[in-house]
């Protein structure tokens, strides 16, 4: 019986970079089973050996192909990376913008319920972004581009916010049916945040729906948090005030900011994704749709 492991070790030079022993173990098992199968079917040992070796034309090519897949192996699937990484980044950005816009030493008492959910989710968002960044494949250029873009976008956004913070906040006041005040710099920042989120999602080749979710994720997540806090508000504010305040907050913190985010994202929502499937662009060759045959 040939020593298939030794044969593979000698022929696969250099061995696959990651999990080499596991790969050699698996491939040697395959060769051994192929050989045994041929023997069982009446093949002479030498002929079986030679036919088994024909399983691989070029060991160098095989080694490179396997190395490539093992090197870029990622326990997180592409959809997770693309959607949740971007959601976390956009959410983090919107949270930072809210905190930075708040004038130093002052906290709007009527917006306390607004700030609390943001602040409460901030450590979570930071942890999620850090975790996802760590899990993301370090060799993936798309992720590198994404983080570089995020850094540049947020450096710019924070600088502009520092300038805005030193000036009086111009506000948009709607008096009917209930007086509501919107911070215009905040809304303007959210337009940029929405645009940045959608742009980055577009660069990551995300389909339109994903770009929309990423761009509006701060408003969507805030809406969910508010909904979760509703029972607590009912106990604090009592019925029916809790629902009135809830409706007001949804308008102030979900609907209007959501529209601002959407406005920013709109230029990046028009273009159809080149790759509407959930598969990454560089996996298109391995995609098995019949159109792959015609390319």
């Amino acid at each position: 019986m040939p020593d298939w492991k030794e044969l593979i070790r000698r022929r696969m030079q250099p061995p696959p970079v990651a999990q080499a022993n596991e790969v050699i173990e698996e491939l040697s098992t395959h060769l051994e089973e192929t050989y045994n199968d041929l023997i069982d079917r009446g093949c002479a040992p030498q002929a079986a050996f030679e036919r088994t070796l024909q399983e691989v034309d070029d060991w160098g090519v095989l080694c490179r192909r396997i190395s490539r897949t093992r090197l870029r192996r990622n326990p997180m699937n592409y959809r997770t990376r693309r959607l949740w990484l971007l959601v976390a980044v956009t959410w983090l950005g919107a949270s930072l913008s809210v905190m930075l816009l708040q004038p130093a030493g002052r906290l709007y008492p009527d917006l306390i319920l607004f700030y609390l959910p943001w602040l409460a989710t901030l450590p979570l968002a930071c942890a999620a972004a850090a975790y996802l960044a760590q899990r993301a494949d370090p060799t993936n250029d798309r992720i590198k581009r994404l983080w570089l873009s995020v850094t540049v976008t947020w450096l710019g956004a924070m600088l502009s916010l520092m300038v805005v913070d030193r000036a009086d906040h111009p506000s948009l006041v709607l008096r009917r049916p209930i007086p509501v005040t919107f911070s215009l710099p905040w809304l303007a920042t959210l337009i940029l945040v929405g645009a940045a989120g959608a742009y980055l999602a577009q660069r990551a080749d995300a389909p339109r729906k994903t770009r929309l979710v990423v761009a509006t994720s701060p408003a969507l997540l805030l809406g969910i948090v508010m909904l979760l806090l509703l029972p607590w508000r009912v106990t604090v504010d009592g019925y029916p005030w809790a629902f009135t305040f809830f409706a007001l907050d949804v308008e102030n913190c979900v609907v209007v900011p959501g529209l601002a985010l959407l406005l920013g994202a709109s230029p990046f929502l028009r273009q159809r994704s080149a790759n509407s499937s959930l598969l990454p662009e560089d996996d298109a060759n391995a995609s098995m749709g019949p159109t792959a045959l015609l390319g």
Partner: protein, 113 residues
Amino acid sequence: MTKRIRPQITRGSAELAILALLADQSLYGFEIAKQIGERTNGALTFTLASLYPLLYEMEKRGSVEGHWQSNHAGRDRRYYRLTPAGRKQLAPLRREWRAFFNALDALAGVSHA
């Protein structure tokens, strides 16, 4: 004797074949190659060199997952099974291929060839 299908088609259909096969049961590499060869009367064949890079690629994308398991003789083999994501890919893929062959049939009458 069935003629060998051209390599491009083999490559394009390989992933569908693996997904379809693993939809029913977990299999290890040699079994996958053997069953595909047998069930297609040799029209689709996998060598070690064509099978494993594809399996690893599918594993990386999350369509299949591999796990080591010993058989009754104590032999370790790496079995592959379909993930929920892989299972989800299978139905639309089947539809896509069916539509493709229907279109080709309408155009070239391949089913009567």
